[in-house]
């Protein structure tokens, strides 16, 4: 196994930080991951020796930037096993990717049609569909989440009706850690000719995401949650879908020819990339995914699974604690609550002890409400976390609970 936690930790400069005088224990990876030097230096190098605008330039720098940019697209296309690099649209991030789809998909949704989402969706994969339904007088239908944090797969078929136009679901829940059975869900949906969007924000850094194996029609993710830079993400879409949908934004690159009377749009993937693209961002994502590949996603998953299991069993030793989300298939995210104590109080005290976690509804308010909770305390893992991080987290939590009880 070419997975060496010491070498990996050394790649992440921020892990040397002290917080409130204590070494940083960073367990807020579902919010954003830290960046290895490989990514930071890639961006730096781009600006130091390659920076230029792409595509239309006659000069060498522009050519270099264009080549690197398109190579990044190709690499990413390979990473998620897309059929063609034309299926890779560079966006700002997951939220942007999903909004692009929700906006351009509007023409396919009519009055009384249905959009199906799960109860565990992040607001970014919920509100765009809710607003689309509102605009179109369509109905938002919800796949329930069971007590243990799994979606109700048994009830799903009956929710897919002839009126269902799209099914949008997270690959991995950012609150519960649940890995949804995307392959099965896609099969059920495709049986009724319903396309599926997968929100891969919490999956891309933690488990294999092969869009041909999943057979989903769209897949969205953010660079910054997978060791890459902020402000850059991806919308994957099957070519036949992306060709059918209208463009989203207008101007610059996405235009083929323009007169005041009419505009002819460019082909894929440029059709969806108006304006100067974030070249540094694309190269940053490429470097980040290469970093993942260099450690292999399978080794990362195995390592994180072990860590999750260890954290779960250690945490359970605290009196009154309850794990929120106990799906059989789970990864990298550990939510909990302690009876009688508000998660925010614990989070605040953890911060004083140098442990960075997140508390609250994690932008999945309907899920938290349905569980009848005021929020959760969430520790989320990345490949650079180790047992010491978990020990620090658990003992700090114990200390906080003692203070608050």
């Amino acid at each position: 196994m070419n997975f060496n936690i010491e070498i990996i930790r050394n790649d992440f400069p921020i892990l040397n930080q002290k917080v409130n005088g204590k070494p940083l224990v960073y367990l807020d990876n579902a919010a954003t991951t830290q960046k290895p030097v490989q990514v930071i230096n890639r961006i730096k190098q781009y600006y130091e020796i390659e920076n230029s605008n792409v595509h239309r330039g006659v000069h060498k720098l522009s050519q270099i930037a264009t080549e690197k940019y398109e190579q990044a697209r190709k690499y990413i296309s390979g990473f998620i096993n897309a059929k063609s690099e034309n299926e890779i649209i560079f966006t700002k991030g997951t939220t942007d990717s999903i909004n692009i789809l929700a906006s351009t998909f509007a023409d396919f949704v009519n009055e009384r049609d249905e959009i199906l989402v799960s109860e565990m969706e992040h607001h970014s994969n919920l509100v765009p569909w809710q607003q689309l339904c509102k605009k179109k007088n369509a109905n938002l239908k919800v796949i329930p989440v069971l007590e243990n944090g799994e979606i109700d797969l048994v009830g799903l078929p009956s929710l897919i009706t002839p009126k269902t136009k799209l099914l949008a679901i997270a690959h991995v829940s950012n609150v519960l850690g649940t890995i949804n059975p995307i392959k099965e869900i896609v099969k059920l949906a495709h049986n009724k000719n319903v396309p599926v969007l997968v929100d891969g924000a919490q999956a891309i850094a933690h488990l294999p995401a092969d869009v041909q194996v999943l057979d989903c029609d769209f897949y969205a993710f953010s660079g910054h949650k997978a060791y890459g830079p902020m402000g850059a993400g991806v919308l994957y879409g099957k070519e036949e879908w992306l060709n059918k949908l209208p463009p989203y934004q207008f101007g610059g690159e996405m235009v083929d020819s323009v007169s005041f009377e009419e505009t002819i749009f460019n082909v894929l993937p440029y059709k969806y990339e108006a304006g100067t693209p974030n070249v540094a961002g694309a190269l940053g994502i490429e470097a980040a995914l290469k970093y993942i590949e260099s450690n292999t996603i399978d080794a990362i998953q195995a390592y994180e699974d072990d860590l999750l299991e260890y954290a779960t069993s250690e945490l359970k030793k605290i009196n009154g604690i309850r794990i929120v989300g106990e799906a059989k298939n789970k990864t990298a995210v550990l939510s909990c609550i302690v009876e009688g104590i508000h998660p925010y109080d614990i989070g605040t005290l953890l911060d004083q002890m140098g442990v960075a976690v997140r508390t609250g509804h994690h932008c999945a308010q309907p899920l938290i409400d349905s569980f009848g909770l005021p929020g959760t305390l969430r520790a989320s893992l990345a490949m650079y976390n180790n047992k010491e991080d978990i020990n620090a987290f658990v003992s700090a939590t114990q200390k906080a609970v003692n203070m608050l009880k």
Binding site: Y344, D345, L349, Q352, P374
Partner: protein, 142 residues
């Protein structure tokens, strides 16, 4: 006591602690002691948005002074809001609006109490100021 004096008392109290644990333990204690708000005000209408925990805040005028009561489902938030109430409740709307709230910075929790924190301190102060403005407007209309 004036607002200024009240702030100074709080700053004095906190200066006795030199580690964060004691400060927070005190804050938690204060939170637990927060006089209860009338249950009828624990509704959406009195909820302050922008906090990670729920905070209800109620204000009413009594003899020209603003009387504040509040509650929260998080005890540290209760501690914070109890300090605010200690300083501002019972003061005139004018005094509340013109005051410079220095104590959060000075009690050595400035870090924690910074306006960009999710604690909602900023939202609470804003809400109290909105109440104060509303009471002033109301009294002018009479």
């Amino acid at each position: 006591m004036t607002i200024k004096e009240k702030q100074e008392t709080i700053i004095d109290e906190f200066s006795m602690f030199d580690d964060w644990m004691d400060k927070y333990a005190y804050l938690i204690e204060l939170g637990k002691d927060l006089p209860l708000i009338n249950e009828q005000y624990k509704t959406k209408r009195y909820l302050i948005s922008g906090c990670q925990s729920r905070v209800w805040l109620h204000a009413q005028m009594q003899d020209g002074k603003m009387i504040l009561t509040a509650d929260s489902d998080a005890v540290i938030t209760k501690g914070i809001v109890s300090l605010l109430i200690r300083v501002l409740s019972g003061q005139t709307p004018y005094d509340i609006l013109k005051t410079d709230l220095v104590f959060p910075k000075k009690i050595g929790l400035s870090d924690h109490l910074s306006p960009t924190r999710a604690n909602g301190l900023q939202s609470m102060i804003k809400q109290i100021q909105l109440y104060a403005q509303a009471f002033i407007l109301k009294s002018l209309k009479k």
